[in-house]
């Protein structure tokens, strides 16, 4: 990471820079990003699904003008998919192409032992950097212009993979048995995201700064919608945000996140709605709620929720 990057010389410039790229964030988020950038530490971002954890990493990479390298975690992810793999095909091809050369070389040896010893001097050729296929982690470490490394949904990966990541997160280096230790030329800006479906190890958490992104309050959510959905009437923003805020207070399986709010706002623009009404909301509940039980539960209380949201909108005005 470049500590002398003028874009990140203060928390306010960071916050306004992200806003210009379309990500409206709270001061907490901007402060944590600022600290992570200057302290050169990874960030562990937690929060409910859809609050903008992955989006944050993407926006930061655009803001800093560095490439984004993404590693999507899943159960069974291992070194060969995350770090490196040997180019087996290339190795086989080269050995075939160089077969004649090898024969000449081995023939010079007197006896089997001598021939094998001659080969031993060259046995690392086919296990060198030229035959290494870098995967996301190695690419991020070897990137000459720096990178934003997004390790998405780390809680889906195994504990073994977490243990493997420790060296990368603490020292920004990896150990490849055949080649040695590869250190990063420019330390990547590392984001780890988690939906908290399982407990991460303490060792991993200790190496990162912690950022929890909750559901936004009404004021922040209005700003986000305004930023992401231009040309939406102001009154409509206030109504839909307050409605979503009221829905989140209900006892449902999956609370609507910011991405659902934005999708709903876009839907309202498409149908040229200027105000929210009960019937329209009823017909578009499936955009903000993703379970049949939740839709049913909200339908039953729709009038009550509507009244509360209108009252909240009136109070905020």
């Amino acid at each position: 990471m470049h500590s002398d990057n003028l874009k990140v010389n203060s928390i306010i410039t960071m916050q306004s820079g992200l806003r210009d790229e379309g990500y409206v964030c709270s001061q907490m988020i901007a402060t944590t990003l600022y600290l992570a950038y200057h302290l050169e530490k990874p960030i562990l971002v937690e929060g409910p699904a859809g609050v903008g954890k992955t989006e944050l990493a993407k926006t930061v990479s655009i803001f800093l003008n560095t490439p984004l390298i993404r590693l999507q975690c899943y159960e069974g992810l291992d070194e060969s998919k995350a770090l490196y793999e040997w180019k087996y095909g290339k190795q086989l091809l080269y050995t075939q192409l160089l077969k004649d050369k090898l024969d000449q070389f081995v023939e010079k040896g007197v006896g089997l032992v001598d021939s094998i010893e001659r080969l031993h001097n060259y046995d690392d050729i086919f296990f060198s950097a030229a035959f290494l296929e870098p995967r996301p982690l190695l690419k991020a470490l070897q990137s000459k212009e720096g990178a934003v490394l997004l390790i998405d949904e780390i809680d889906k990966a195994d504990q073994e993979f977490e243990a493997f990541l420790l060296e990368v997160l603490s020292d920004f280096q990896v150990s490849i048995p055949e080649i040695g230790t590869i250190k990063s030329q420019i330390k990547p800006f590392v984001f780890l995201t988690s939906n908290n479906t399982r407990q991460l190890s303490e060792a991993l958490k200790r190496r990162c700064l912690y950022l929890y992104i909750p559901f936004p309050d009404a004021a922040l959510e209005c700003q986000i919608v305004r930023n992401r959905v231009p040309n939406i009437p102001e009154q409509l923003i206030s109504q839909l945000v307050n409605f979503i805020q009221e829905i989140r207070k209900l006892d449902i399986k999956k609370r609507p996140s910011i991405s659902e709010t934005i999708d709903w706002a876009r839907t309202l623009i498409l149908v040229h709605a200027e105000v929210l009404d009960c019937e329209f909301v009823r017909s578009t509940l499936h955009i903000i709620l993703k379970h049949e039980d939740d839709i049913r539960a909200v339908n039953e209380q729709l009038n009550m929720v509507f009244d509360s949201s209108f009252r909240a909108a009136a109070n905020s005005d």
Binding site: L35, L39, T197, Q199, E202, K205, Y210
Partner: protein, 440 residues
């Protein structure tokens, strides 16, 4: 400021937060970057470096408010005090007894000044504080802004701190006392938070009703963790180890090529559990947490059928599966919608009822868990039926919420039921519940 930050970290550790040295170093580095001028930045920097989970974040913010906000207000108050000219003390007589007149604030100021400088200087700090608080009470609380809300467990509210800090007792000359007050208060908050952290070892009958939602929250997290561990075991079981003999046998048709690897699969089944839960008044304080605990485990770990009884027995599995846990508990404990008669507990009658209606649900693979104190009100315990149940099922686990030394007293029949149980254990705390879950 370094010293203050160290004290802040001490307060966090006392609250049960495991703050390591490397995190403290990160916190100092972060504070050097953002500075102290902006309170929000300062707080956010501490949260980012010292908290490692959402719960940790809440603790850091709470301790931060208690620890730093009083200090920040104190600076403002001190500035105000210096500007004001409080000449009232020099005009009054130095005698303690004759000063109980005039405005209340003046009286208190005199008491403080008098107590501090003359009669009570030799007393230790805490004794002086207690004396002053009792003096408040004797003068009359309602007229004072100082003790408008009685602090619980030594934790002072912001109003208390403000008011005390604005009296002459805690003026700028008395720095040591002020530091002591702030330290003591943050330690009290930290102690209370540590109690929350150690809540798994607190007996469930000591939990106030207002803490029930918090307890249910903790139980939900515990069951989530147990479900995690169990699902990881199941994943490992699905992967298994390479079974060479089986592979060779399977691949015989492929002329020896190991085309179809076979794995040693250790099957981990979901346990079949039947729960019989006494919901009489003597046991209801733990029954709610137990039901919440089972509710959480039923997602991954076990197939659970739940029955509640007092004298009659009825199945409540559907209620627990259909409603959110809090509602389900209330419905079950109030036997809403359940045809039950709740006089005195009769284990014998409940067992007979169970035998009549649901014995077919019990098989060799079923674990029966009974939650109850076995207090039968001297009715027939129906040991014969209980023996039949034990012969029919895989095992019986009895969880008794009473302390062990009470098991032989009064109308408790636990000693008669115990020979037919695989395990009889005390179950009063969340830790007991967790240990029991491991044995399912």
């Amino acid at each position: 400021m370094d010293l203050i930050l160290e004290r802040f970290v001490t307060a966090l550790r006392q609250a049960g937060l495991m703050v390591s040295t490397s995190e403290v170093i990160d916190a100092f580095a972060a504070i050097n970057l953002v500075g102290y001028a902006n309170q929000n930045y300062f707080q956010n920097a501490l949260v980012a470096t010292l908290a490692k989970s959402y719960e940790d974040k809440k603790i850091v913010i709470l301790i931060f408010k208690q620890f730093f906000s009083a200090r920040l207000r104190l600076n403002a108050i001190n500035t105000r005090l210096h500007k004001q000219q409080l000449s009232v003390y020099s005009q009054k007589s130095s005698s303690f007894n004759s000063n109980l007149h005039g405005s209340q604030v003046e009286q208190l100021s005199l008491i403080f000044k008098h107590g501090l400088n003359e009669k009570y200087n030799g007393l230790p700090f805490h004794a002086k504080q207690e004396l002053y608080f009792s003096l408040f009470n004797s003068i009359g609380e309602s007229s004072l802004p100082l003790y408008s809300t009685r602090p619980r467990k030594g934790v002072m509210t912001e109003q208390n701190i403000d008011a005390l800090l604005s009296t002459n007792f805690y003026n700028s000359q008395n720095r040591a006392s002020r530091e002591c007050l702030l330290q003591r208060n943050s330690h009290s908050v930290a102690k209370e938070l540590k109690l929350n952290h150690n809540i798994v070892n607190v007996s469930l009958d000591q939990i106030d009703e207002m803490n029930y939602p918090k307890m249910l929250d903790i139980i939900e997290k515990m069951t989530k963790r147990i479900n995690d561990i169990h699902s990881r075991r199941k994943r490992k079981a699905r992967k298994g180890f390479f079974d060479s003999k089986k592979t060779i046998r399977k691949c015989a048709t492929f002329q020896g090529f190991l085309f179809w690897p076979q794995w040693k699969l250790k099957k981990i089944n979901r346990a079949n559990i039947i729960v019989l839960c006494d919901i009489s008044h003597s046991v209801s304080w733990i029954a709610r947490f137990f039901i919440a605990f089972l509710h959480g485990l039923s997602h991954e770990v076990a197939n659970i059928r739940t029955f509640v009884f007092c004298s009659d027995i009825t199945e409540v599995t559907k209620i627990l599966n259909s409603y959110p846990v809090q509602q389900a508990i209330t419905a079950t404990l109030n036997s809403l919608g359940i045809n039950m008669f709740l006089p005195h507990t009769d284990y014998g009658a409940a067992l007979s009822d169970f035998k009549k209606k649901w014995f077919s649900a019990v098989s060799r693979k079923t674990t029966v868990i009974i939650l109850g104190d076995a207090r039968n009100n001297y009715f027939d315990p129906r040991i014969d039926t209980f023996r039949e149940l034990s012969e029919r099922c895989k095992r019986i686990i009895w969880l008794n919420p009473e302390a062990k030394h009470l098991w032989t007293l009064g109308d408790s029949e636990i000693k008669r039921y115990a020979p037919f149980c695989s395990v009889v254990q005390e179950c009063k705390t969340l830790n007991h519940l967790k240990m029991f879950a491991g044995s399912i």
